[in-house]
């Protein structure tokens, strides 16, 4: 058991070795077509999601852009 965490959308989320943006999105069912990802405030382009590692203490924002009919 690790007690390390990240922040995911301003909520505490368990960290584990090898965590990536894509893995986070998959685990949380974040599969909307129009998402902006920021790690510690910096934009991560879509093509880098699979390769971008997330580290303990990171502040990850996975922002869904949609405003309803």
């Amino acid at each position: 058991m690790s007690d390390k965490h990240i922040e995911l959308n301003h909520r505490t989320y368990p960290y584990r070795e090898g965590l990536t943006i894509s893995a986070l999105m998959q685990e949380n069912n974040f599969n909307f077509s129009h998402i902006i990802v920021k790690v510690n405030g910096a934009l991560v382009e879509e093509e880098k999601w699979t390769k971008t590692a997330v580290y303990a203490g990171d502040n990850v924002e996975i922002i869904h852009i949609f405003g309803g009919g």
């Binding site: 301003h10 902006i36 996975i62 922002i63 009919g69």
Partner: protein
């Protein structure tokens, strides 16, 4: 590019000769000739007023400049659109509410002749360069809420009205027989004529009138028709259909002013249709101040649509229905009357099913010129399986997302054919798909909980997913009798009728029986009752009828009728009604109204009390007070309007977005679910309150200008990800300020836009206050909108709720029963909701009771005597009347 199919139903509208014979039967009752005008920067500066009869005197406060009087009390005239109106109300919905305020009194009922249907396209409406600029806003006093309702609608009518020479059309009075109004925008004439022979249902009537008033087939593109349908006459959820001519399909298309029963008022006035003809549309008719700004902004958005739509929302392929499966994945697709947020069968009604099997593709489907978003999809040659048009192949306008979520998952129908069938009939009969779906889901849940039974529904088995029965219900609405009529009055009326008929009438309901004043049936915030908990999976098999003491097997068998094919239901027991079976029960001993109160709970009784208007000798099982209270918890309405089709119970901000709506719970004020629940971008009450200020104001602004919301954020610029506030889509907001400046000639900014909207928004709040609502207690939502109220709902998200209880509320869920846990979660959520309301009222400049403060009215320039007079007693009572000398002049 596909070759567009010709829809086969067209031969049902009649030949040209038959249609011209119908026209020959018209008796002209009034005619009017008006002077041509030139639109200056978006405004004609005059409005058209028509009273369709009934000896109604035009309000002295809102005088006519010139007028003509026809037969039967018909008046046609013009009013000025003044600088005062433009400064304070801007246009569109603002103008509508201004005239409506003048037309009605505090106790005006929806069916009074002075109720005023006001239609206004807004100063930007009619430009062709920017997508989504053809909207009309429609207001009147609603039959379901008894408050001003506003609804926006596409189609060509609004722009044509403006090009004909009017910023506003007002329809007042009441005709003696069915009439139609014809506005000739090129010859500058108006006539009011009887219309005895044309059809009532919109898909036929729109075609007939387009044929009748067009000079040629090509000329049909210059005709737009407003009509309703037969169900609008008997239900309270009538819509207005606005047509546009689809040149490729060679048929009319229907766009709907859906919410709040405007079509019911239209038919109550005995207006069959309003027809307009205008030939000569081009992009400069608004005489814009700076056309270059319009062109540049328009092309920017056209290019985004051309390049990015397929990667983003697929609006061109499937329109708003693209989000059916998205909502399901995010637990937001309302299912079984908002109990759940998704269903394993959703893939059956996912957007790709409609794309692959039903929707005609690659056709420009804009509901006004210049809409490159083109979301107005249609299913061509769809064969109907029920009703008067059974077997015919028709063009179904849709499905919109709301059809999938409402007529699909919320009523448990995971069959695209039933969704399209109900979609078609809702439109042509003239009923609101959203209210219809939500109130049918309510009746279904009442039925499956045993609050009403198969007797009450006249043999319609309303279990989830019974598509036949649900469509049959709609056909009953057209016939104007039976259970369909009761459902068609909406949830608030259903609750009253069920309670009145089945149980002890609560004092709150008593005051509602008179119709006015429209008192909230909910008590204000303090001492919120903890919801009762229900979970009975066996209810679905009609056993409750026996359990409730009604065990006549023979009657049940006769009620159930024949088993039918039922693709939508998840079991094999779907039955439809057998009309006329009630005659068997005549002669059964009955009791009177007085005896109902003393009647034992659970024992069937029979009533032929003439005061009990819905009884008619049928047996009733008495409802307990607890059961009546239950209906308050899961009846998804607020202010009398049914909720629209998004599951809001895991987003506090959206709970407020719905319940704090001026007109009732429609998401056109705010849709914050992703920002709040998923992105967690607005964690504090103040953050949520800010969002519940900015977004309602921004979205109100669309309604003032005549714009559609969809091109704002259903496509996003490629650079949006670099913006500080991406949810606002800042580049598109700037586009709007550009086209505002392009037409009106004045620079605009976020601050000036917000104030422009605040004026009308605050006015509307004071308007609903004047009409007997608009206080805090009226903003109270049904319990289900806040969270799980049943064991089943709790279990569906047990992990999430347990976690919330442990981590946020600080209570250990271990060892607690589900019933206990529901109580804990719900008590917490009621408290959260009340804190949200406090924060939002504060941000909007209102008192804790939801009354706009005098200081706010002064700040936004709305310290108009009539408004001050309306809020003054409430402010004084609450202790919020300001004391300074500068306020003394308002206290007269």
């Amino acid at each position: 590019m596909v070759d567009c199919v010709k829809n086969e139903y067209r031969h049902h509208i009649g030949s040209h000769e038959e249609i011209m014979a119908m026209k020959a039967k018209h008796q002209v009752l009034a005619t009017y000739t008006f002077d041509p005008t030139v639109i200056e920067r978006g405004y004609n500066n005059r409005s058209l007023y028509i009273s369709v009869g009934g000896q109604y005197d035009v309000s002295e406060q809102d005088p006519l400049l010139r007028k003509t009087e026809g037969e039967r009390g018909i008046v046609i005239g013009e009013k000025a659109v003044t600088d005062f109106m433009k400064q304070k109300f801007t246009g569109g919905k603002g103008f509508d509410l201004y005239h409506l305020w003048k037309a009605v009194k505090a106790d005006t009922s929806w069916n009074a002749p002075e109720n005023d249907i006001v239609i206004s396209p807004g100063p930007l409406a009619g430009i062709t360069q920017y997508p989504g600029a053809g909207k009309s806003l429609v207001c009147c006093i609603s039959p379901t809420t008894h408050l001003p309702i506003d609804s926006n609608v596409g189609g060509y009518f609004g722009p044509f009205l403006k090009f004909a020479g009017f910023d506003i059309l007002e329809l007042q009075g009441q005709a003696e027989e069915d009439i139609l109004i014809y506005i000739d925008g090129n010859n500058h004439t108006i006539s009011v004529e009887t219309a005895p022979e044309e059809a009532f249902d919109s898909h036929i009537l729109g075609e007939q009138l387009s044929e009748m008033y067009a000079n040629s087939t090509k000329d049909k593109e210059n005709i737009s028709v407003i009509s309703s349908g037969r169900a609008a006459e008997h239900s309270y959820i009538g819509i207005l259909n606005f047509t546009f001519w689809d040149k490729r399909r060679q048929c009319i298309r229907l766009k709907q002013a859906g919410r709040g029963g405007i079509g019911t008022v239209f038919r109550n006035k005995k207006i069959k249709a309003v027809v307009i003809r205008y030939s000569g549309v081009h992009g400069d008719l608004n005489n814009p101040a700076n056309k270059g700004l319009l062109n540049a902004a328009g092309i920017r958005l056209h290019k985004e649509m051309a390049h990015y739509d397929t990667k983003q929302n697929n609006m061109r392929k499937i329109g708003t229905a693209n989000i059916i499966e998205v909502m399901d994945r995010y637990d937001l697709l309302p299912t079984h009357n908002y109990q759940y947020g998704g269903h394993p069968e959703t893939p059956k009604i996912a957007s790709k099913v409609f794309i692959e099997k039903y929707i005609t593709q690659n056709v420009p489907d804009g509901c006004w010129y210049g809409c490159s978003m083109s979301c107005a999809k249609a299913a061509d040659n769809f064969e109907l399986r029920t009703g008067p048009y059974k077997g015919q192949k028709v063009c179904v306008d849709g499905p919109e997302y709301e059809n999938g979520g409402g007529l699909g998952s919320n009523v448990g129908c995971f069959d695209p054919r039933w969704i399209l069938e109900a979609n078609f009939y809702c439109d042509t009969y003239g009923v609101d798909t959203i209210s219809h779906a939500t109130m049918t889901a309510f009746a279904q849940e009442c039925y499956q909980r045993g609050l009403i039974n198969l007797d009450d529904t006249e043999g319609l088995d309303l279990r989830w997913g019974n598509g036949y029965a649900l469509n049959e219900l709609m056909h009953h609405m057209v016939a104007g009798d039976g259970f369909g009529m009761i459902v068609g009055k909406g949830i608030r009326h259903q609750k009253r009728i069920y309670a009145e008929r089945f149980g002890k009438v609560l004092p709150e309901y008593e005051s509602m029986l008179e119709g006015r004043p429209w008192v909230s049936i909910k008590e204000p915030v303090i001492d919120k009752p903890i919801p009762t908990v229900h979970f009975n999976p066996d209810l679905a098999d009609c056993e409750y009828l026996k359990a409730e003491g009604y065990d006549d097997e023979k009657v049940l068998a006769s009620i159930k009728g024949d088993l039918l094919e039922n693709a939508g239901a998840n079991n094999d027991s779907a039955y439809i009604a057998q009309p006329g079976r009630w005659s068997k029960l005549i002669g059964v001993p009955t009791i009177g109204r007085d005896e109902i109160t003393a009647w034992p709970v659970g024992k069937p009784y029979y009533s032929d009390d003439p005061d009990c208007c819905y009884s008619n000798g049928r047996p009733w099982v008495k409802m307990t007070p607890e059961q009546i209270a239950e209906m308050e918890e899961f009846g998804m309405e607020n202010k009398g309007l049914e909720y629209s089709e998004y599951l809001m119970k895991e987003s506090l901000a959206q709970q407020g977005g719905y319940a704090l709506c001026n007109k009732g719970p429609q998401h056109d004020e705010a849709w914050l679910i992703f920002m709040d629940m998923v992105n967690n971008q607005i964690p504090t009450f103040e953050d949520k309150a800010e969002a519940l200020h900015y977004f309602p104001m921004f979205r109100t602004w669309f309604g003032l200008l005549g714009l559609c919301k969809l091109p704002w954020n259903d496509i996003t610029p490629i650079n949006n990800k670099y913006e500080a506030e991406p949810a606002k889509i800042p580049e598109h907001v700037q586009n709007y300020f550009d086209i505002y400046e392009g037409v009106i000639g004045e620079k605009h900014s976020e601050a000036s836009m917000v104030v422009q909207s605040e004026r009308v928004y605050t006015f509307q709040r004071i308007f609903i206050l004047r009409m007997g609502s608009g206080q805090r207690k009226h903003d109270t939502p049904p319990a289900r909108s806040l969270g799980p109220i049943t064991v089943g709902e709790y279990l569906s998200r047990e992990e999430r709720y347990d976690k919330q209880m442990k981590e946020i509320i600080g209570v250990d869920p271990t060892g607690k029963s589900i019933e206990e846990k529901v109580k804990i979660i719900m008590a917490y959520r009621w408290d959260q909701f009340e804190q949200l309301v406090d924060a939002v009222y504060k941000r909007r400049g209102w008192t804790p009771n939801g009354i706009p403060k005098l200081e706010k009215l002064i700040e936004i320039g709305m310290d108009i005597p009539e408004l001050v007079q309306t809020v003054r007693p409430y402010l004084k009572q609450e202790g919020y009347w300001p004391s300074g000398e500068e306020y003394a002049k308002y206290d007269e």
